[in-house]
């Protein structure tokens, strides 16, 4: 019981299956095969800077940002309503909110395929109302919709858990001192909920920027985000060196955004999901 050695097999396992693989990614990212021999080269990273690939990077970041903002705008009021006191059966509502998340991620995305399809339910309903049919599937709109649908709970739940813990007497004190509802929100509730907002933003932005399934299923097979670029290099083009370089850039992007977000959450009080 007092012995730490019992976890050494685990440490060994994790070194073999997480540290070594990441080192191998680095190794592939910084090398290239020339005339059958591996040479150290920054070429793969220089190639990422080509306009075609920069555009892919830019689009991934942009779409992830748009989805994060939309999730925030839709999600903050949801968190407030769920945390508010004029809601009865609160825990049931929160559970109801979480249940769709338990459906397999692929299936949730597939569900939108069937809705947005040219002959799908939305277009059938539009047709029945005598309205023109819309081209919904395989557009930027569909990809953003898929991201918002899949990641909305990651925004709402951290904000909800922080809002729930706000001391009511602080709000009452502000009201007693003459603040109206808007000022109370602006000066008391919102600043206190910031840790939740920060972890919400991180938890939406990260999966959104790394996804390749949503973009593939709802954006079409030609649609390229960083995730699709990586998948392509490993599963179709078999250029592991370039794919590894793109993966390293993706990791850097994630670390960067985590670093930026951590600055806004100094006390580490963010309402984590776990």
């Amino acid at each position: 019981m007092k012995k730490g050695w019992i976890s050494y097999p685990y440490i060994l396992w994790m070194i073999i299956f997480t540290i070594v693989p990441l080192l191998l990614v680095m190794y592939y990212g910084f090398t290239k095969t020339e005339n059958g021999t591996m040479v150290l080269t920054p070429d793969n990273f220089i190639r990422v800077m080509e306009p075609t690939y920069l555009k892919v990077l830019w689009r991934s970041v942009l779409l992830a940002l748009v989805s994060t903002v939309v999730c925030f705008i839709i999600g903050y009021p949801v968190a407030m309503i769920l945390a508010g006191r004029d809601i009865s059966r609160k825990s049931t509502l929160v559970l109801l909110f979480v249940i769709p998340m338990w459906m397999n991620f692929l299936l949730r995305t597939y569900a939108w395929m069937t809705l947005l399809d040219r002959k799908g339910l939305i277009n059938t309903l539009l047709g029945a109302l005598g309205l023109p049919q819309l081209n919904l599937l395989y557009t930027d709109f569909a990809v953003i919709l898929g991201m918002v649908y899949n990641f909305l709970p990651f925004m709402v739940l951290p904000i909800y858990s922080v809002l729930r813990k706000i001391d009511r007497s602080l709000i009452e004190a502000a009201e007693d001192l003459g603040s109206d509802t808007v000022t109370v929100f602006r000066k008391v509730i919102f600043p206190l909920s910031l840790p939740g907002v920060v972890s919400g933003i991180t938890m939406v932005f990260m999966p959104a920027v790394t996804t390749f399934i949503i973009s593939k299923l709802l954006g079409g097979s030609q649609y390229m985000l960083i995730g699709n670029l990586i998948e392509d290099q490993f599963m179709r083009v078999y250029d592991w060196n370039f794919g590894s370089a793109v993966s390293i850039i993706m990791m850097l992007l994630i670390l960067l955004s985590m670093g930026v977000m951590a600055r806004y959450d100094k006390e580490g009080t963010g309402g984590g999901l776990f």
Partner: protein, 264 residues
Amino acid sequence: MKKAFGRFYLVLIFAFLYAPVLTLIVFSFNDSRSRGNWGGFTLKWYSALFRDRHVLSSLYYTLTIALLSALIATVAGTAAAIGIHNMKKILKSFVMNLTYLPVISPDIVTGISLMILFVFVRLNLGFTTLLLAHITFNIPYVILSVLPKLKQLNKHMYEAALDLGAKPLYAFFRVILPEIMPGVVTGFLLAFTLSLDDFIISFFTTGSGVSTLSITIYSMARLGINPKINALSTLMFIVVLALLLIVNKRSSANSKNGTAVMNI
């Protein structure tokens, strides 16, 4: 007024969240192949599903991998958690960072890095590599479920058992294990569910001939819409829902603050 608006907003959000899932489920009983029209009630997609050999073999692999990886991860993770609990501070923080690494890093990077490793050591991609990958991403979740239970443990209990003449192993199985059992079982269920649900890591670490349900769904969905997927998703939704309700009930019974265990 404010209250009514809040209710209305919540209804809209719930409609947004549930409409796709419900449509998927309702259309799994639709006799017509169309996604827009109702052609009458049928169970034919379900029976087609159970005759599809590819689907059945992926069901077999999914369950085998989930069960094996969850079992191995639970044993390894519990042992690791006990070791970590008794470590010196510096080593402990290193191991905890190691534990959080796969939890934090994007699945696609975990997937490709494991794939590179397996190919590098000339392991054929297939059942073994899939199992190794699943064990790897499951262990941290078991550790994170067991550690809180170890923290609650009264450390004098184990010493008392030893003083009364119990051998260390006997004391572990009769004193420590029953105390931390709720955490161990939660860890197992969590690992099992995560393994069932995983797509990205499996996608990169499996080879031809071995595919899980998620991979089969992905390859079917890429070819377009197929009512068999609706039937399959309805069944999977029910199973995962049941499993997670159990996990959730356990974890809210274990911890007073009632934080739900949620998966991504």
